[in-house]
Symmetry: C2
């Protein structure tokens, strides 16, 4: 079994305190890409990322886009014939609300029980930053890397990476590479290094239902005017059948069954359904009948309500017949579903089931394609060796229910295979209050990715 190169290990250990201090500075920037009032913060996080790349020994440029900036760092001093590897991450974060459910403030990183609590700690600032520091270990301890490196950090991952595919296309020449490495996912369990082999795609909608022109008195008008909140509930209630299957006609047409050997491997993972249920705090689990929990999460599509708003939601009672009602609804997609096709199916379905008396609009806010990796080749062999060196055991192959839409874009535009190796953990509260990153995983993750650069020298150019 390979081991972590001692010089890199030593450099990372020697700079442990300084690295944590810098990580905390990064986490303090409330770079919430979904909220325009945080645009300046998001810009600041981009500049911070570029400064951090420069300090590590790379050159760095902050590229303006029609949305939030893209940061590109480069080091191209490898020997002739060496491969080029691109590291992708994102410096933007999810909104932190509801704030009252955070134990410590979301943008004031706090260590408790070996965890760094902060919005963005695991998704994805911590995981982007550990790559920068692993690169710095090479450049400071040895003055060089064995491969050419590009670091691409975007600021719109949490709002659908709207401008990233266009950026990659426009800069395909300078971003040309032999492999892409992404750390924006979780290990299957503590101590169990994991290579992610699949991602679900996404089609995210907003459904707006307009009833009367303005809020009305529910006594004076109730009974004759169609209630838009009730109409919305009726629409949402048509999305699933009694078996938890999505009842939008045509929804499953594109769904490919999972290869039998991958489903078999899933069964061998150490998964405790009752532990998973208890972790969620649900009274019992549900979902589509006929599939195991991991199959539901990794291999099957979903249709979820992400938000609801109508009428009076404050303290006490207000007898209002609301003018409008809104739902945010998103579908997780699996190979080979297409977000554009799902958008058409959703719009047709809602138009068909919407009750008379209200005006309903469906807006597609953003989408991304699902993805499934090839599980062979030098990139994956290199990753397996590096993870084994740092964690002391062979990695497992996992799936992921979340979406990283850019993965498909990298493969399509740059023609390079993508490696997804993440250092989060189950229960890390990504997108929820009290998001955290394991300190141990952060440290071991730096060692693993530092080791990875040596292993990647063997990649064919």
């Amino acid at each position: 079994m390979t081991s972590v190169p001692p010089d890199l290990h030593a450099w990372l250990s020697d700079h442990d305190d300084a690295i944590r201090g810098e990580l905390f500075d990064f986490l303090r920037i409330p770079s919430v890409s979904a909220r325009s009032e945080h645009d300046a913060d998001t810009r600041r996080a981009a500049e911070w990322t570029a400064d951090s790349l420069r300090a590590a020994g790379l050159s760095a440029t902050v590229h303006a886009t029609a949305g939030h900036p893209v940061v590109v760092g480069e080091w191209r001093g490898a020997p002739a014939g060496a491969p080029t590897v691109l590291v992708y991450g994102h410096y933007d974060v999810q909104p932190a609300e509801p704030l009252d459910l955070w134990t410590s403030p979301p943008f004031e990183p706090t260590i408790r029980d070996g965890r760094v609590y902060a919005r963005g700690s695991v998704d994805d600032k911590g995981q982007l930053f550990l790559h920068i520091k692993a690169l710095e270990a090479h450049l400071k301890a040895r003055g060089r890397l064995p491969v050419n490196v590009i670091v691409l950090a975007e600021g719109e991952e949490e709002v659908g990476s709207e401008h990233l595919a266009g950026f990659i296309e426009a800069h395909a020449g300078e971003l040309a590479c032999d492999a892409v490495v992404i750390s924006d996912s979780a290990m299957f369990a503590p101590g169990l290094p994991s290579i992610l082999s699949s991602l679900r795609g996404l089609a995210y909608f907003q459904i707006d239902v307009q009833g009367p022109a303005q809020d009305l008195h529910s006594g004076s008008y109730g009974g004759a005017v169609v209630n838009p909140a009730m109409a919305l509930a009726k629409i949402l209630a048509t999305f699933h059948d009694a078996d938890g299957r999505i009842a939008i006609p045509g929804f499953y047409d594109g769904v490919a069954e999972w290869p039998a050997h991958v489903r078999e491997q899933m069964k061998s993972l150490p998964f405790d359904a009752e532990h998973f249920r208890a972790e969620t705090g649900s009274v019992s689990l549900g979902g589509e009948k006929g599939y195991s929990i991991l199959e539901q999460l990794w291999t099957r599509p979903t249709c979820e309500v992400n938000g609801l708003l109508s009428g009076y939601t404050g303290e006490g009672a207000k007898t209002v017949l609301p003018a409008k009602a809104m739902a945010k609804v998103s579908c997780r997609l699996v190979p080979n579903q297409d977000p554009a096709v799902v958008e058409s199916l959703m719009k047709a379905h809602v138009a068909r089931v919407a009750p008379p008396g209200v005006a309903v609009t469906v807006t597609h806010l953003h989408g991304g394609r699902p993805w499934r990796a090839e599980l062979t080749g030098p990139l994956f062999d290199a990753a397996r060796r590096a993870l084994a060196a740092a964690f002391g055991r062979e990695p497992v192959i996992t799936g992921e229910g979340g979406s990283i839409p850019v993965v498909g874009d990298f493969e399509r535009i740059l023609g390079a295979p993508v490696l997804l190796v993440g250092f989060g953990l189950p229960g890390e509260n990504a997108h929820a209050p009290d998001e955290w990153l394991s300190r141990e995983n952060f440290t071991t993750g730096m060692r693993a990715t530092a080791t990875l650069w040596d292993e990647l020298a063997s990649l064919s150019k």
Copy 2:
């Protein structure tokens, strides 16, 4: 036809400007009873009401309750054997949100097109205040009233009058009277004085659905964890059948059919369905099949969503699987439905249809019984004469879809008949942005109620 007594008419005309100034002062107090941050304002409105009664020549006391105060004004100088009449109104108002839909600020009364725009202008400060001024006209122009008068103004009408029935019971001796007069309703049309013969009752609920213990990432957990917002939508979608009938078992058991002669009279009212639809701004009307609009509004029960809240409701997209979802749901009730029975039926129904995987609680926030008047007797004859004198035409008999729960309490506890004569107008936006009161109705309403006191001298003690 009676006419408005010239001395009262003259006094009211002479003091027109001062009366409007005082009304505006009253309307400037944001006495929102539903919001604890306005408790001091609500208290101030009670004191203002008491001061206004004293200025009119009555004695007045502000009585503390477990909630907002009750104001009682009295004048007991009528000749021996004269009847006693109680006027009821409320000084609290609905919340003003959404503020951005008001043309002028809700607590800065503004006159446009012959209307006074302000929260509480018609519901009910303006209508309470016109009674106080009509009493003052008698006491200032003549030094006396022909009957003994009690004015009872509460501050919890908009939150269910929780403490009023107890107050009336505790003070039944001093509140004993021969009739109750309430102005908290609307005329059927401009120039058409109206006596209200029925009110719907209310049973107001909050439904809380708890899914996971906290918000989860919809990618990492979606598909296995039951979504509480989707569960809530499924519950709400069971409340009506395809014909707009309420599908809660047993819901219609108590519903009495309306007397044929009252339904006939309804048909003779000048009602334009298309005008009503256009006024609401709905694309088309709905509701229970087989009933006219006025029947739907006045004689049939409803089940409405008043508010919805779950997950992420801000700008853009957040891929959250929410921990909880909330709906405010209220049923308007008709004779002889009982709010307590409807509460039991609602709770049993929700428990039956709630999907597994979530915890659902139904809380009954408040309720009130429906009411139907006797349309004969000296009280109604007096009202008809007074309205005819002020408006120059005979009043019509109408129904009302809203609720004034205290009406039933007065009849039950004090054993006195209730007269509902209101001076609002259709489209007045009670409970909505841009609430308004017709200036003409305010003035004519004062003349009508001033005239009423002379007519009520004929009431039997």
